[in-house]
Amino acid sequence: MSTAIIFGLLLALMLTGMPISISLGLTVLTFLYTMTQVPVESVALKLFTGIEKFEIMAIPFFILAGNFLTHGGVARRMIKFASSMVGHWHGGLGLAGVLACALFAAVSGSSPATVVAIGSILLPAMVKAGFPKRFGAGVITTSGALGILIPPSIVMVMYSVSTNTSVGALFMAGVIPGLVMAGMLGLTTWYRAYKFKYPRQPRVSFAERFQAFRDSMWGLFLIVIVMGGIYAGLFTPTEAAAMSAVYAFVIAVFVYRDLGLKDVPRVLLNSANMSAMLLYIITNAVLFSFLMTHENIPQEMADWMLGEGLGMVAFLLVVNVLLLLAGNFMEPSSIILIMAPILFPVATNLGIDPVHFGVLIVVNMEVGMCHPPVGLNLYVASGITKMGITELTVAVWPWLLAMLAFLMLVTYWPTLSLWLPRTLGMIS
């Protein structure tokens, strides 16, 4: 009963269009005040203690690091490197788009920013080279989503915060699926380019490749710092995030010189704005999951689902459908913060590995960013390509189909995500 009231209230408040954080908070306050004996004063304390964890602080640090490198100059270097590597294959510039998106998204940590940065530089070049606009738009829109799977990923930190899963293991688990997904998007690109005889770039010399690699290397080294630092036990994930933020600052200002020192306050302010928004959602989501635990909802749901004889296969299917539906209306971090605490207990009861479950959810979020009505990537892509959402949806479908196939692969083949962290001894 209380489950229905809580979710009904939350849904009703959310659909009025108020910020998700506010609707979460108001649901909790209303329910606690009217239906329970819990002193509402305890809520005030929760609002502080909700984010009083050092692990959560990785989020602002990663955002800062990403913002320093979210710059056209970095995008241009990545594109140059990517096209020097794969440009001479079928669909050259398209393949380069996939690779450049994967690299830039991993470093910048933002999917929409990747679509804009890579898209606005690469798309005109593709059109000039003779690719249809639709083809380019499809490649960039879907590849831009790769960022939340390839570490460092803020969405993964969100998941680990709300389920107490190791961030390091999650990051490692994202590496192979990220590469496979980039491979699948690339294969789709290659196949369509081959079929429709799209142009190829001239092969470039090894010296040029090396030069392009040296240019983009500084930005890519950020991934090495984070992953290497965490894996070698040099830093905790939060410390690694702080180190990467300082590294990104040095690279952007002193090595690449894309930013001057006078731009730094602006970057700081933007990062603070973004982080505060996410932290505010986290605070209220912590309140919400406090309410759920208090009402024993996750456990009841787990018991009910297990009582219905729902097996692992059926449960994962339900999870995928649920998350894809939620992806129609909300952005990734809110979905994870609301859904993960509910679904997680069931998953562990069914013997699903927490890390595998996290990767599965993240892949779901990626798909959600690329399909209407609220795929953020679609909307920013529509902004730079001047194509309508409907036209863009048509343009995107071959890659979206590849993503859905990949989602199935990730869902039902845990080894894909678990092999690397297991081999490295990060999970048992």
Binding site: M18, S21, T70, A272, L279, Y280
Partner: protein, 239 residues
């Protein structure tokens, strides 16, 4: 004028917290390695480094980020970064949509107002009352002194006062945005796809550079005064 000062202060404050927290964590990590490992073979330098105890760095980082989160959330209201599910209300006609927008903003003000008050009461009972009486030179009696933080031994009520201060500021920002919306029909809008440094590649065409703000993107409340877009025909050109 006063508003402008408040705006600037808010911006400087959260930018400072962001930068300072990063530097502190960075310095603490570097210090840990330089002081404990054999990276520097000179013992005197190591001894000198060991004098500094940076164990409080983690606690300070957390406190700074919590303050940044509370005040940044208020700043976020002003920049329109707090997004909601507005797929439904964006399909309504302008008048009805405006009602929902105002409702949402007032709900935000209501929630942050309550939280601010709860937080203020909490802070008052956990040491602020005691400190206030002591500052006035009166005998606090059996009013609790309140706990202190583990590493820096700072009274927690000072740390926790981020909740009432930030929430009240946020409440004020919600009311301010609501007032501006009523007056001009404009809502702040955050552009998630902004990337610096690509402008020189394609110089903005007049009337095109702000296109993203005018898109019917179902993600952000848009301006009321513009003709509603019809994207169903798939043109997406805005008209």
């Amino acid at each position: 004028m006063l508003m402008r000062i408040l705006d600037r202060l808010e911006e400087i404050f959260i930018s400072f917290l962001m930068g300072a927290a990063t530097l502190i964590t960075f310095v603490a990590v570097v210090h840990r390695y330089l002081a404990s490992s054999n990276l520097i073979p000179i013992t005197s330098v190591q001894d000198w480094l060991l004098q500094f105890d940076l164990s409080w760095a983690q606690e300070l980082t957390i406190i700074m980020f919590v303050w940044m989160a509370k005040f940044g959330a208020a700043y976020g209201v002003r920049t329109g970064i707090h997004v909601g599910v507005d797929v439904l209300i964006n399909r309504l006609e302008d008048k009805k949509r405006a009602v929902f927008i105002i409702f949402g903003l007032l709900a935000g003000a209501f929630f942050t107002g309550i939280v601010g008050t709860l937080g203020a009461a909490f802070v008052w009972e956990n040491g602020a009352h005691y400190a206030w009486l002591q500052w006035l030179g009166q005998d606090p009696g059996d009013i609790p002194e309140g706990p202190t933080t583990p590493d820096m031994e700072m009274p927690t009520w000072i740390v926790y006062s981020a909740v009432p201060l930030g929430s009240y500021l946020m409440c004020f920002r919600f009311l301010q945005v609501a007032w501006n919306f009523l007056r001009s029909g404009e809502l702040p809008h955050h552009d998630h796809g902004h990337v610096a440094g690509i402008e020189e590649e394609a110089p903005p065409v007049a009337g095109e550079e702000d296109r993203i703000y005018r898109m019917e993107d179902d993600l952000h409340p848009h301006k009321l005064r513009e003709p509603p877009f019809d994207d169903a025909d798939g043109k997406g050109e805005g008209k």
